[in-house]
């Protein structure tokens, strides 16, 4: 499998072992939590490690080879430090406008509160730095949920977007019970088209809906992998 949730007891030491404690503040509460549990030899990640969202379900945390994916609404994740404080890597087109950046991050977190799922913060395990946001996105006006990806400058050119997207797809299809999701990709965005192909999406017709994010958009559809060769095949894309 190319991901596992930080829930079963065995996943916790494995994940935390690979995570180095760094001076980075973003992940520190989560890391300390995991490390504390490990030292105490308890399996409390299941009992109390995952904080409850509004519907009293735990926020999922996913781990891939090089990345940790955590909900920015998770109380143990410091979204201000990761995305908003001075010095945090900037993302989205809102980079130079603190006001629209605040609204974007607050909206992304509110999406988790309202839907129970949303864009995960993509954290580089080696450094603890948040380098992007990847996950299902379903604002009002969208015809169906979209698998959306945003990588900030420090995270680009390393294959993180496809690693994170594959990790989220595996979780959606195997754990969360989703049957399909699309990505809306501008026809001229070669990098995103390559990424959609890399994670196994297939092109559909150009789409047009009132609030579509840009002109010349094509839907790329992600489907669960066939049962027989599923997770193994998916993992192949990670290397």
């Amino acid at each position: 499998m190319s991901f596992h949730q930080i829930d079963p007891i065995l996943a916790v030491p494995a994940a935390a072992d690979a995570l180095r404690l760094t001076e980075n503040y973003t992940l520190r509460p989560i890391l300390h939590h995991w490390m504390g549990e490990i030292h105490a030899g308890r399996c409390a990640a299941r009992a109390k490690g995952c904080n409850m969202n509004n519907e009293r379900k735990p926020y999922p945390r996913l781990v891939s080879e090089r990345l940790l994916l955590v909900s920015p609404a998770d109380p143990e994740f410091d979204a201000n430090a990761a995305f908003l404080n001075p010095g945090a890597p900037r993302f989205i087109d809102a980079a130079e406008d603190p006001d629209s950046l605040w609204w974007s991050i607050a909206t992304i977190i509110g999406h988790w509160h309202l839907h129970g799922y949303g864009l995960f913060a993509v954290v580089e395990r080696g450094t603890g730095t948040a380098v992007g946001l990847v996950g299902p996105w379903f604002p009002k006006g969208w015809p169906e949920p979209e698998l959306s990806w945003h990588l900030m400058e420090p995270g680009r050119g390393k294959g993180y977007a496809s690693e994170a997207a594959q990790c989220v797809l595996d979780w959606l299809f195997s754990d969360a019970g989703w049957e399909t999701i699309v990505s809306y990709v501008p026809e001229e965005n070669d990098a995103s088209i390559a990424l959609a192909r890399r994670v196994g999406a297939r092109p559909e017709r150009p789409v047009s809906f009132r609030l579509q994010p840009a002109p010349n958009i094509r839907a790329w559809r992600h489907m669960p992998p066939p049962r027989v060769s599923g997770p193994q095949a998916a993992q192949g894309f990670l290397h």
Binding site: A73, W102, W103, A106, T107, G110, H113, K140
Partner: protein, 179 residues
């Protein structure tokens, strides 16, 4: 604090937003009723406003509440304590759905949110930004005891022609009720 605490008053329940709140609130935001809030809002802007004021609880420990009539669960509106990046300080604001006017619901909900701000959030004062001409909102601010504060900083890019600042004070910060 990650979600809005549930607060009950004599007739109302203030609670964290759920998806079902969107349609009735968008009905207000996309109408002329939102004129003094910078509207009417598009679907996209309504979504961003409501989602962001919900997500604000995770980022800031305060944000907006849905206001329900306890008796029948009807959504009567919204009250919120918000501080988006272009506000110099936290603002308490309110919105009433069509058909619920004249009952004092806004004042009742906002008074409860103010009490929460003084006792749980630890605020010593909050502002309300009121557009000149919005006499209904000015009346609510005055009924809540707020005073016009001409020295207060304005939201970024706004002038006194755009915004009147009312200031609410915690009871003990003005030598009032608890003295």
């Amino acid at each position: 604090m990650t979600v809005a605490p549930t607060i009950t008053t004599a007739r109302l329940t203030l609670r964290h937003h759920v998806m079902a709140d969107f349609a009735p609130l968008h009905a207000v935001l996309c109408s002329e009723r939102a004129h003094y809030m910078g509207g009417p809002f598009s679907l996209k802007d309504s979504w961003q406003t409501i989602a962001a004021e919900t997500g604000s609880w995770s980022l800031l420990g305060h944000g907006s509440w849905a206001v329900e009539r306890t008796e029948d669960g009807a959504l009567v509106g919204q009250v919120g304590i918000n501080k988006p990046a272009h506000y110099p300080e936290a603002e308490i604001g309110w919105m009433l759905c069509s058909g619920f006017e004249g009952n004092g619901y806004v004042t009742e909900a906002a008074a409860a949110a103010l009490l929460w701000a003084w006792t749980s959030m630890g605020a010593s004062s909050l502002v309300s930004y009121v557009t000149p001409g919005n006499s209904r909102s000015a009346a609510v601010a005055e009924r809540l005891g707020a005073k016009v504060d001409r020295a207060a900083p304005l939201p970024l890019g706004e002038t006194p022609d755009d915004t009147i600042v009312y200031r609410h004070y915690a009871p003990d910060s003005d030598g009032g009720m608890e003295a």
